[in-house]
Symmetry: C2
Subunit: 350 residues, 2 copies
């Protein structure tokens, strides 16, 4: 079991982030936000897939204006992502954003920041201080003989936090996305020791589906294992749906959330006497998030099969063309290969 | 930079494992080992993809016999995976296996173990003590009020190590695969403090391609971030080629190995003014492992683009239908969207 870092709790619309709330899943639309119809469609598909907070890019007045219309037709909390222009932040807040994300690396004038903070306070919405190593002042981005990139990154974050606290604003979520996985993990670990604000985790610019998923799983996963992280976003140069699916896999791999049955299956080798890959694929395709969130083991042979299958609520350990089905550590019966999926589903739904 | 755990060095065929050697990539064939032609074909395809050590299941005398023939027609070190039958281990060693993997959880008779160890010593080949939580004695598998599963797992590993050391055998690699990611990471971390043998990392029974890759990336990645791990295997209920590709992505994401250019790309959002996904896909398809192993950033907008692209050797930050190309932090020129890939390749290969 992972022991989670104690953080302050912040509310994003109806959702709690931090302070013991379940780690929530975020994504960001790929549409132009002022294309209201397409943006709403993307958000609703994302919600269906398990997205719990959605972010939209607010690049101009027309994007900021669209927030009002979008808010009326979606159910999950909406975050406005703003860079450079503090007026867009003010407009987004006015139009009902449930949270805004700014990067003080590019909205840094004290009076501009102060107007944003005042507006957020009046509406009681949180602000994410979303730092990216790429947009820090030059001296913050580079390692020196005296300190690593991540140490300097943390000290910038603390400086911005102090600015917000001086305005008596503590409705803060923080993200620290460095340019690589190692520095990102180091930066979050460093900041975790220095404050109790909830963290939004992510690895920036991670890349295409496969490589990006792996980078994100390592970075986000290593931090979650430490108990660090309150809401996560997997960034992929791919569809936002894939981001949500990867986020769910990360959280369920760590036992932090459950989304239907967890399937464990062996990699198959020369010992396997059934067509395991197809069996697992078919089983995975037929279970739904509404099925009981228990562990189901589908193992190709007698080596690790019985032991690992016994740890699962339900399991099959295959032999040659057949297998034994277990439940809570007890062998129920012998089943034929062609009935594996049917029998597992029957036991699962019993 | 990751500071790696100091471990003893072991040789597997011509390859060094531990003691500062690069973290190596393993996979395991999915064929029946006695199907020599198919096994050799799978191994040679795996080698081409970057596999550096390959394991085959030795289930019966005919598998053990095949090792001789396979060894003659492959170039990478061959590991024989043996369960239950110590005679198969002896046969595999006799037939030229470069390493054997046994699980003392199922070959536990002292005289059987001792015969295997003597044979390995005579041939100067290492043994992997490959523990799986599923095949531990019952009392080792369960948490009690006094100790977690992983603590008991570590104490079993130390007991087996002691047995080998008492036979004056130290050519050991260890793996500790528990039934879930959290316990696996805990177990390896625990054992890392208690011995200096090199570790083979993996998450067992991880599942189909996507979920399995994510579980493995978290578990293996978190340990590698700690400096733990000397050789890795991603287990997937999928093709062995996918295992090798995922392993490469894990190592390169952490900067531990380099396999051609590392592409970083933004996830795209409403700010993106070019068709970034297709550009990145095309670029990724056209680079080869022989291209310089530098960071190439392909960013969709001006927000994080220039900063993060500047950290890369070469980069593009896109605007609307065009972009600027950077090299070592200096803007080279403006390029049109349709020329992005061509211009990046030109700069990369210059």
């Amino acid at each position: 079991m992972i022991s989670r870092r104690r953080t302050r709790q912040v509310r994003v619309g109806g959702l709690k982030v931090g302070g013991g709330a379940p780690v929530s899943i975020q994504s960001m639309t790929k549409t132009k936000t002022s294309d209201v119809a397409r943006t709403i469609r993307e958000i609703n598909v994302l919600e269906e897939a398990g997205c719990e907070i959605v972010r939209v890019a607010v690049r101009d007045a027309s994007d900021a204006e669209s927030i009002k219309k979008i808010k009326h037709r979606i159910r999950i909390p909406l975050v406005a992502d703003i860079h450079f222009h503090h007026r867009l932040a003010l407009k987004a807040i006015e139009n009902g954003a449930d949270k805004i994300r700014i990067n003080p690396g590019n909205i840094s004038k004290p009076d501009e920041l102060s107007r944003i903070v005042k507006a957020a306070k009046a509406r009681r919405i949180p602000i994410r201080i979303g730092l990216n190593s790429g947009s820090l002042p030059r001296e913050g981005r580079e390692s020196t003989v005296h300190s690593s990139q991540s140490t300097r990154f943390v000290s910038y974050a603390l400086r911005y936090i102090k600015t917000f606290e001086e305005m008596d604003f503590r409705d803060i979520i923080i993200s620290l996305k460095a340019s690589d996985v190692v520095s990102t993990v180091e930066a979050y670990r460093g900041l975790a020791k220095a404050c109790d604000y909830p963290f939004h985790l992510g690895v920036t610019a991670s890349g295409l589906s496969k490589g990006g998923t792996i980078k994100s799983a390592i970075g986000i996963g290593a931090l979650l294992l430490d108990g660090i992280g309150d809401t996560i976003r997997v960034s992929l140069t791919s569809s936002s749906l894939e981001e949500v699916s990867a986020a769910r896999h990360i959280l369920s791999a760590l036992g932090l959330r459950k989304f239907g049955p967890e399937i464990i299956a062996c990699p198959t080798c020369g010992r396997c006497g059934v067509n395991l890959v197809d069996i697992v694929k078919e089983f995975e395709a037929r279970v739904t998030p509404k099925d009981p969130a228990v562990k189901v083991a589908i193992m190709g042979c007698e080596v690790n099969g019985p032991g690992e299958a016994r740890d699962a609520r339900i399991g099959i350990a295959a032999g040659k063309g057949c297998g034994v089905i277990f439940r809570n550590g007890k062998i129920l019966r012998k089943v034929r290969e062609k009935d594996f999926v049917k029998e597992l589903l029957k036991e699962l739904r019993r």
